[in-house]
Structure formats: C-alpha cells, structure tokens
Symmetry: C2
Subunit: 183 residues, 2 copies
C-alpha cells in the first residue's frame, strides 16, 4: 500500500457519502466514487469489496478495536466492560461522517439489514471475548447484546442531536436508562 | 383453505425438519418436503414461500402474538412487559420441534443470518409497540432489545437442556441474570 493511501481511503469514504446523498445509494457506482475521490477504480477495489462496504468498513474496525479493549479490561462487571470497550472503540467516529452515513442507511432497507447483521456480529464478538475471559453463558450473551443495544440507542440519539454532542455522554445516558428500565 | 390444512401445515413442518436432519438443508427440496408430508407441491407453496420459510413461520407467529399481548399489557415496567409478552407468545413452542430446528439453523450460516434478522424484527416490533403505548425512546428500544436478548439467551439454554424444562422458567432466570449483570 502506497504511503498516500490512508488519505485516499478517507477521500473515498467522503466521496461515497457525498454521492449517495446526491444521487441515492442505488444510482451511484464504484467508478463514480473512485473518480470523485481522484483514484483509479483499481485502487477502489483494493480497499473495498463493493460500494456497500464503504459504509461498513468503519464497523469492522469498531469490532476489532472493541475486542482488543475487552480482551484487556476487567470483566468483573461484564455489561460495564462491554459498554466501555465499545465507547472506547467508537470514540474515533467522526460525527460529520456518521450523520450522512445514517441517512443513507436509514433510506435503504437492504443497508438497514446489513447494519443489523453487523450489530449482531459485534454482539457475538463481545460475547465470545467475555467467554474467553471466563464469563459463563448466558451472562456473557446478555451482557454483550445489552451492551450493543445501549450503543445503538446512544448512537441514534447522537447522530440526531441538532448540536454536536459527545457520543461517550450519550452512551452513559443510555446505560443509565437501561438500569432504570430494569430497576 | 380446506379444513384439513392446519394439520397439513404441521405435517409439512415435521417433514421438513426430518428431511433437513437426514439430508441437510441445502440438499432438501420443497417437492421432497411435500411428498413426505403427503401433500402436493402446490399446497406446499400455498403455505410457504420456500423451504427456508418453513423454519421461520413460527417466528412470524411469535411476533404477531407478542405485539398483541404487549398492546394490552401494562407498560409501566417496559422490559418486564416485553419479556412477559414474548414468554406468553412463546409458550406454545413445541420443544420437539424447537430442538431439530435449532440444530438445522446452527449448522447453516445463511439460516443463522436469517434468524438474527428475525430477532431484529421482533425487537423493532416490540419497540414500536412500546412507543405507541407512550414509552419514549431510547427506553423503548433498550427495553425491546434487552427483552429479545433475554428471550434468545433463555431459548438457547432451553433447547440445550438434556431433560425437557419449561421455557418460561428459563426466561425468568435469564431476566434475573440480566438484572445481576446490571447490578
């Protein structure tokens, strides 16, 4: 990978979100994304399987980082550990990318389905990591799935906030609301 | 629909699970399911879109019944309401069908994906019903997703129990474990 390519990757993500917003997801081609980002189609396909994966590359990264953090954290309180690991992994998410991304996904049922499966995968990875750390099931699965539910609820609030806020604050609020719900 | 058909539907579900266990899901055709159930292929396709849907017809029914129960229940404690509505809807699930069904699904990644999406749909329906009943978001989403997580964790334990147990008991245990996780 050339040294300029991390930048090219960012340009492709921005270009894709712009084009999806302007023309719609279905009407945009990988070639158009590459052109707007100033890269060749070959470069595009070296980074992404298809135009859809431009939207989900960040989620894969989120999962990897979450698993890493959860593997190192105390799991005495499994739900808190999952939420903290996701919050940490999500701290690098850029709101200016997250907002148009959510808009594209919410407008396309097949993307919503893909997003839902990515969240299932995130929960499975968290549960698996907890089990490796000695947390038995069903506690591991419950903590993982509830932790992902907290993240998703918080994320929805965050991208919808009219003024930019901190995702970490929204996550703590959602965790508090889950506690209140169970109370 | 002829008066004998509810019975035919049950026979098709049994026949499908038998064949999936004997030959594998991919290797079984709708025609073979119809033949073993003693119905015509036309009857099969009047009941099910394809062989995959034989496995998920019960989940659609579960969702409908859950929405109905949740629409009538007190939602002062939203998570308890979701769990009670799912437990009520799930009380008619037959363990002798649930066990081979889980075995088929766990052996096929595409069926696991489908099952995951059905659970996402179940959670969305529960959240929507809670919102209609006046529970605001994110409390509605959190209660719905955690309630479905409780159900799924309990279901896994239930189908894996060497001796038959009551699903309702497993659900109450899982709810207790979620409370303990949040403690």
């Amino acid at each position: 990978m050339g040294r300029w390519e991390p930048n090219a990757r960012g340009r492709m993500r921005h270009a894709a979100l712009e084009l999806f917003a302007e023309r719609g997801f279905e009407q945009t081609t990988a070639a158009e994304i590459a052109e707007r980002a100033g890269v060749t189609e070959r470069t595009f396909f070296r980074h992404f399987t298809d135009k859809r994966e431009v939207l989900f590359a960040g989620t894969e990264q989120l999962q990897e980082t979450m698993v890493e953090r959860l593997g190192e954290a105390s799991v005495a309180r499994p739900l808190d550990a999952v939420v903290a690991a996701i919050a940490d992994a999500a701290s690098s998410i850029d709101l200016d990318l997250a907002r148009p991304r959510s808009a594209v996904i919410n407008a396309n049922p097949s993307l919503l389905e893909r997003e839902a499966l990515k969240m299932v995968s995130l929960a499975r990875a968290a549960a698996e990591t907890l089990r490796e750390r000695g947390v038995p099931d069903p506690a591991a699965t419950l903590a993982a799935e509830s932790g992902v539910a907290v993240f998703r609820a918080a994320f929805e609030v965050w991208v919808g906030d009219p003024e930019p806020t901190r995702l970490a604050d929204r996550i703590q609020e959602a965790l508090g609301q889950l506690r209140a719900t169970l109370g």
